[in-house]
Structures are given as structure tokens and as C-alpha cells.
């Protein structure tokens, strides 16, 4: 056994940064977290004894909010690309966009929850659908909110000079988290909204948008 001297404190065995690896491990763990929530929702489908269920999901509105979240993800990579090239203006602009789009998404979700509560009388106490759906999407919304808080903090820190090209890894890690929140929503939108609500009994036909009917896919 030999002893090396002058080893760099920041050397890692794999050459990968500890913090980035931590974020990936965390995301892996979060997969189990959301997987369990979505799984719970799915196995409780169609077990309701009473009250509204999937027929009240609004696909047009959720498609828009999904689009907003997807575009925030795009803004996130553009912000990262900006700071990695040292273009702080680009970074700040796109980061602000991410936060705004994220907030719009939260707004959509609050609108949806309010609609459910006011018009359909659906709260987490109403029935199984209310419990599983609202807790699942609520946890997702909480993740989005944490992401917004995180990115605002990074944005402010960048004005104080604490975030710069040299530690763009901070932005990359926050970005990984943000994209993860996005892919969770991709799954929820596909599995819970589209597949879940497809052919749900009592779905109002008027809901088919005129545009869709016009091109003959209604």
C-alpha cells in the first residue's frame, strides 16, 4: 500500500460530481415515490361507491397546462445552456420564464381543484377518486412549487454573484429536478387524464372542442 500526497480534495472515484449524483439518486427514489402514488390511484380506479370521478377531468384545459409545463422544461435547458456559455442575460431571462410558466401551471391546478370543489363537490373527503387524484396531483404541485422556489433563489443568488458560469452545476442540478417534475406530469397526463378519462361514463359530449370536431376527429 502506498500513500499519495497532494490528492485533490475534490477528486471522486467515478469522476462524477457528488451533488449531481445525489440528485440522480434522489430522482431515482422519487420515481418510487410518485410511482406508488400513481399506482395507488390506478388500483383504486372504478372502486368509487358514489360521487364524481374521471368524467369531470377537463382534457382541453389540462392539455394547455401540460403544454405550459413542457415549455417551461424547454426554457430550463435554454437557461442552462445560457449559463454554461457564460451568457448571464440568457440564463436570467429563461430562468424567469421557467418560474413564470411553473406558476401558470400551479394556477391551472388551483383552478382545476377549485372547479372540482365548487362545481362537482369533489374534495379529498368525497370519495376514493377525490382522495387518490387530489393527493397525487397535490404532491406533484408541491414538487412544482418547491422547484419554483428553488429557481427563484438561484435567480436572486445570480444577481448577488453567487451563481455564475463557474458553478453552473447548481443550475444543472435544479434543472434535473425541474425536468423530473415535468416527466412525472407527462405520465400523469397520459395515464391518469387521457387513459383514465377516455370513455368515462357521463362525459359530456359538448366538451369536444369545436376545432377538433371541425377536423373530423371529434
Amino acid at each position: 500500500m502506498q500513500y499519495l500526497s497532494g490528492i485533490d480534495d475534490h477528486r471522486t472515484s467515478t469522476g462524477l460530481d457528488n451533488r449531481k449524483m445525489l440528485m440522480w439518486a434522489f430522482l431515482g427514489s422519487d420515481v418510487m415515490f410518485f410511482g406508488t402514488l400513481i399506482g395507488t390511484h390506478l388500483i383504486y380506479r372504478n372502486r368509487n361507491l358514489s360521487g364524481p370521478q374521471e368524467e369531470i377531468l377537463s382534457i382541453p384545459i389540462t392539455t394547455i397546462s401540460t403544454f405550459v409545463l413542457l415549455m417551461s422544461s424547454l426554457a430550463m435547458v435554454l437557461a442552462l445552456a445560457g449559463i454554461q456559455r457564460g451568457n448571464m442575460g440568457q440564463f436570467r431571462f429563461w430562468t424567469a420564464i421557467v418560474c413564470i410558466f411553473g406558476s401558470i401551471f400551479i394556477g391551472f391546478q388551483m383552478f382545476e381543484f377549485t372547479e372540482f370543489a365548487v362545481h362537482y363537490g369533489l374534495t379529498p373527503r368525497t370519495n376514493l377518486f377525490g382522495s387518490t387524484f387530489l393527493v397525487m396531483t397535490g404532491f406533484h404541485g408541491t414538487h412544482v412549487a418547491v422547484g419554483i422556489l428553488w429557481l427563484w433563489s438561484i435567480l436572486f443568488a445570480s444577481y448577488k454573484g453567487k451563481i455564475h458560469q463557474g458553478n453552473s452545476l447548481q443550475v444543472e442540478i435544479a434543472g434535473l429536478y425541474w425536468h423530473f417534475v415535468d416527466i412525472v406530469w407527462i405520465v400523469i397526463f397520459g395515464v391518469v387524464y387521457l387513459i383514465g378519462a377516455y370513455g368515462a361514463e357521463g362525459r359530456a359530449l359538448e366538451e369536444v372542442p369545436h376545432a377538433a370536431r371541425a377536423v373530423g376527429i371529434g
Partner: protein, 102 residues
């Protein structure tokens, strides 16, 4: 080391142009999903179509926006190992709860 590493990575990273293209594809797929929802087809077929479309969106975001396609394979392991475990567990649970095993 971190900065150095980041620079090395950038060589094979997609740039803003590709990101915008990916973003457009994501938007189009979402639109297709929206359209498919209003088709009157067999629910099973619809399920598979949506699963296919959603997973391609999933893979695009993970692969490009999260750089997994270009990054160290160990990150993919950390992410996809639990993903596979979770999907298997969910499938088994659904089979159990929908009484497919009786």
C-alpha cells in the same frame, strides 16, 4: 474539476437549436395525444397509443433535456433501475387488484 467536466460534456451536448426542436416535437406529440382522446376507438388500442406517445415524450425529456443520453451511464442506472422496479410493482399490483390472478 466540475467546470472542466462541464466543458468536456458540452462538446457532444445538443445546443439551443436542438432544444427548441425537441420542445416543438414535445408540443406536437401532446397535440396528437389530445386529438387521439377524441377518436372513437377501442379503449385498449387507445391505451397503447397513449402509452407509446407518453413514453416517447418521457424519453425525449430524460434523454435530451436531462442529458441522460449524453451523460455518464451510472446516472441512467440510478434512474432507470428504480423505474423498472416501480413499473413492475405497479403492474403486479394492478393485476392483483383487478383480480387477474384469481
Amino acid at each position: 474539476m466540475t467546470t472542466e467536466h462541464a466543458h468536456v460534456e458540452e462538446h457532444n451536448h445538443p445546443g439551443p437549436r436542438q432544444y427548441v426542436i425537441i420542445g416543438a416535437i414535445l408540443a406536437i406529440i401532446t397535440l396528437i395525444e389530445f386529438g387521439v382522446f377524441y377518436l372513437s376507438i377501442d379503449p385498449a388500442l387507445m391505451t397503447w397509443i397513449i402509452l407509446l406517445l407518453s413514453s416517447s415524450k418521457f424519453l425525449l425529456v430524460v434523454g435530451y433535456f436531462m442529458h441522460l443520453k449524453f451523460d455518464d451511464v451510472r446516472f441512467s442506472g440510478l434512474f432507470f433501475a428504480p423505474f423498472l422496479i416501480m413499473v413492475s410493482i405497479a403492474v403486479v399490483l394492478m393485476a392483483l387488484f383487478f383480480n387477474l390472478t384469481r
